[in-house]
């Protein structure tokens, strides 16, 4: 199956090889540009997230894709927010169930809960932390696309798969004739 490709690689001169590598880099950089452009447009550091837990079932299942936005207007009760607890890497997607806007400072005191959880998130926050604030919020869920993110979850669960996939894609780009 690969004999033809290998012969093709041998036959290529330096110029063609350079061209293929440039093509490959071009694809990577345009993907990066789209991602960063989206982040700028939505004003959210990660405009697309994959659902990693079942705490928002039956609305969001593991592997569903969420599109985020960061609106100028303040957070309101009922909004589904993605937030990061200081000192932890994995963001959480939960609904705001309680909110207090302080008059003097304008600071928002926010409490969240997963629709599928029986209790609020105070057990998930850092010890002694009762509220989260605006600065913890990465974005507000605006759009929904089911199933697509399952690839990310598989790659997280089986890290080898990631290298196999990247290696295969890279090879394919190199030997692709167009």
């Amino acid at each position: 199956m690969f004999e033809e490709e290998i012969r093709f690689l041998r036959k290529m001169n330096k110029r063609q090889l350079a061209q293929q590598i440039l093509n490959f880099l071009m694809i990577i950089s345009s993907a990066l540009m789209v991602w960063k452009g989206l982040a700028l447009y939505t004003n959210s550091e990660s405009p697309i997230v994959v659902v990693l837990s079942g705490s928002m079932e039956p609305a969001f299942y593991r592997g569903d894709l969420l599109f985020l936005g960061m609106p100028d207007e303040p957070v309101r009760v009922g909004d589904i927010c993605v937030f990061k607890i200081p000192g932890r890497d994995v963001p959480i997607v939960h609904r705001v169930i309680k909110l207090h806007d302080e008059k003097e400072t304008g600071k928002q005191y926010i409490l969240t809960k997963g629709d599928n959880n029986q209790v609020d998130d105070r057990g998930l926050y850092n010890p002694g932390q009762l509220w989260i604030h605006r600065e913890h919020i990465v974005g507000k869920v605006r759009g929904f696309l089911p199933y697509i993110g399952i690839i990310t979850i598989l790659m997280n669960d089986y890290p080898q798969l990631k290298y196999v996939l990247i290696g295969f894609l890279g090879l394919y780009m190199l030997v692709n004739r167009e």
Partner: protein, 173 residues
């Protein structure tokens, strides 16, 4: 020139393009469907009890209400489920806006979208202010809905209510 892998690749790419085009048109077109959700919260009883919470004597409000809402018009071919909640909103001396969820429900079919509940209490959610005492407040109650689609945009809204009820003095227990 055209081997099996190339043909399979072309078919797969075309199928993906068509599918994403279809999903996008579903997502955008369902934004233009009109709906007319109505709902009413009727508060029947409001009591305040003092409990020790976080080493402070704290006012807990207990509410009993009747709910009547017709959200059937929110169900279209792209509606996966509705998240419905009763929200209390009030203003205190130190805080501009306070919003607390008192009750919630997830509705997954049009048949269940006509809500008629009597004597609902805030059993699942504590109705407590951020300060230990509510003080002299008047709260407004409304029904909030959040439409979650099969694919596309989340839409939410709430039915406004005019009923405001002053908080009574706490009962001593």
């Amino acid at each position: 020139m055209y081997n099996l892998a190339q043909r399979a690749n072309a078919i797969f790419a075309f199928a993906m393009t068509v599918q994403f085009g279809l999903l996008l048109s579903i997502a955008i077109s369902s934004l233009y469907l009109t709906s007319n959700p109505i709902g009413k919260v009727d508060v029947r009883e409001l009591n305040i009890w003092l409990y020790n919470y976080d080493n402070k004597e704290t006012e807990f409000a207990f509410i009993e209400m009747n709910l009547d809402a017709d959200l059937t018009s929110l169900f279209n071919w792209n509606t996966k489920q509705l998240f419905v909640a009763v929200i209390a909103e009030y203003e205190t001396k130190s805080h501009d806006l306070n919003q607390v969820v008192l009750w919630d429900s997830i509705i997954q079919s049009k048949e269940d979208a006509h809500i008629k509940e009597v004597k609902v209490r805030n059993e699942k959610y504590d109705f407590v202010d951020i300060t230990p005492k509510f003080g002299e407040v008047e709260a407004k109650y409304s029904i909030y809905w959040d439409l979650m689609p099969y694919v596309g945009f989340l839409v939410s809204g709430k039915t406004e209510s005019n009923q405001t009820i002053s908080f009574p003095a706490p009962d001593n227990n």
